[in-house]
Amino acid sequence: MSEKLVQVEHLRQYFSAGGIGKYRKYVQAVDDVSFDIYKGETLGLVGESGCGKTTTGRTLLRLYEPTGGRFVYDNDVIFDVEKKQYVKMLPYRKKMQIVFQDPYASLDPRMTIGDIVGEAIDTHKMAANQKERYDIIIEMLQRVGLNSEHANRYPHEFSGGQRQRVGIARALAVRPEFIVCDEPISALDVSIQAQVINMFEDLQAEMGLTYLFIAHDLSAVKHISNRIGVMYLGRMVELADSYELITRPLHPYTKSLISAIPIADPKAAKESSRIVLEGDVPSPLNPPSGCRFRTRCPYADERCAAEVPEWRELEKGHFAACHHIDKCN
């Protein structure tokens, strides 16, 4: 196994939600999440909206100030909240980049595509002169399937898929090692999604990138990832090799999530039995005690309300947090 590039330990991210003193309330967006990502690997992160997958990605890049936990990148401690150790981010921004979800909102409408991609090059002083800067911009645009004439155009002249390509070119411009892909395909049409997924794979092979791929579409995540982590209401509930996770899910939430995916095959769809979960995701302002999934879990009992299930390695490389793994399998 190759070495670990990203090590996240007990990451915690709470957002203040009003109130004073002991009445202060917090949205527990991410609570005690730990995972590693190996060099050149893609780790997928799935879950429903509000489960904290996007917050996890953004906190790692320090777009939010972490509330707790430790993040080690390539043996450098980026932050360690307990020891109050924080590193200056600018040099690391060159190594870690992000591709945002909404290609319509994440590009400045008043900047040309060239300037959008070039901004990062300026910030990190990567080009000695204008010619060099221009060359890098064009190279990046070509890498994502656009060409030099696009550099002088504005975002509104592009379709959604092309804009997402621009967003990827911007992230690539500083030649990063690690990219957080925050739902990069959810805003795209089905026929375009496959194009963008293929491009992510090609770029990974060419440039040796490591991805944290966040999405709610499990089939797309399964396609691109080596391993997948499933989150529910701020906690990681299961993590395993992607084929293993899909075929042999251990956690009851993962099982229901997989069975809820509509299958694009009429015969198989009629035969499959769906586990339909009752109710909605509880509010992260006031999450259930113990196991957070217990309010919707068919196997829940008193123990689930009393104790937080331990995050343990059940089989090699297959982690889950549930009291009733034996009962539900």
Partner: protein
């Protein structure tokens, strides 16, 4: 009288924008019997919503119906006035919109909004309407209906709001329910709940459903008939089995191929449809899909292909099939 509940024939609809005419629908024909479920799939801008909205008389300015006949349950929609239309809208034909966050009125309670449809279309009084509203909430699986009736939309979650939308749509037991991407804004586990609810209600109330979506998975499990739309045209139409197991049009084939599969162990590369969706202001001459088609021939760029029929229901508009049919015919002679 028609044997169908819905019978749209050769509908043409254009939007006259300042930049030019956008032919949103180009010769669209759809028919649907009572109690059937039809799925319309296509990319954004392919005209799937416009088709359904025009059936409800909800074509927005600057859109205009140019040609075609829209028959629904004894009414000829294209000849009806706004006033007549208002009588059947929400009564015989209802719609659920994509975004339950924006389609409910934030300043009225849930009860108020459900009762509105009932008071408008039936001769029930306010008290009776309230009782009916409560029944409807129970029908769509909302617990504590008494309490919910007094709540405002912002107090409910996305899935609950979509249930309320369905309750409003079903208030007068419509013959036809149009569901315009009803689950796109929802999470998968909630989507499963809503789809299950819709199928249950369909069996209970015996209504027909037109399901508009871009998700092939959703139509596979729900719909008997599927229409695949591209650039304002129905490029292929057939039963769910026809579409998924014997797709004839290159676009349908491409769509099915480009879905990532869950059950494969080996990593397979996705086969995308290359290119970008059509610019509807300047659609290509000939077949609109030709510039993205991997089997494009010369004739595709020049002329729109005619309809090729396979059996009673299944048809497609593609030159490739036309060519194959002709070769078959020649061989037989």
């Amino acid at each position: 009288m028609s044997e169908y509940l819905v019978d749209i024939k050769n509908e043409r609809l254009s939007f006259f924008t300042p930049a030019g005419e956008v032919k949103a629908l180009n010769d669209v024909s759809i028919c649907l019997k009572e109690g059937e479920v039809l799925g319309i799939v296509g990319e954004s801008g392919s005209g799937k919503s416009v088709t359904a909205y025009s059936l409800m008389g909800l074509t927005a300015h600057p859109g205009k119906l140019i040609d075609g006949s829209l028959y629904f349950n004894g009414h000829q929609i294209e000849t009806m006035s706004d006033k007549e239309m208002r009588k059947i809208r929400g009564n015989e034909i209802s719609i659920i919109f994509q975004d339950p966050m924006t389609s409910l009125n934030p300043v009225y309670t849930i009860g108020n909004q459900i009762a509105e449809a009932i008071l408008l279309h039936t001769d029930k009084n306010k008290a009776q309407a309230k009782v009916r509203a409560k029944e409807l909430l129970e029908l769509v699986g909302i617990n504590e209906p008494e309490k919910r009736l007094k709540q405002y939309p912002h107090e409910l979650s996305g899935g609950m709001r979509q249930r309320v939308m369905i309750a409003i749509a079903l208030a007068c037991e419509p013959k036809l329910l149009i569901a315009d991407e009803p689950t796109t804004a929802l999470d998968v586990t909630i989507q499963a709940q809503i789809l299950e609810l819709m199928m249950e209600l369909k069996d209970k109330l015996g209504m027909a459903i037109i399901m508009i979506t871009h998700d092939l998975g959703v139509v596979a499990s729900m719909c008997e008939r599927i229409a695949v739309m591209y650039a304002g045209k129905i490029v292929e139409y057939g039963t769910a089995e026809d579409i998924f197991y014997e797709p004839k049009h290159q676009y349908t084939k491409g769509l099915i191929r480009s879905i990532p599969r869950l059950d494969t162990k080996e990593h397979e590369r996705l086969v995308p449809i290359e290119g970008t969706p059509v610019d509807m202001l300047n659609p290509p001459k000939g077949c609109p899909f030709a510039p993205r088609c991997d089997a494009c021939m010369k004739i595709c760029l020049r002329e729109m292909p005619p309809v090729t029929n396979f059996g009673e229901i299944h048809y497609t508009q593609c030159w490739l099939n036309q060519k194959e049919e002709m070769e078959k015919g020649a061989a037989n002679e």
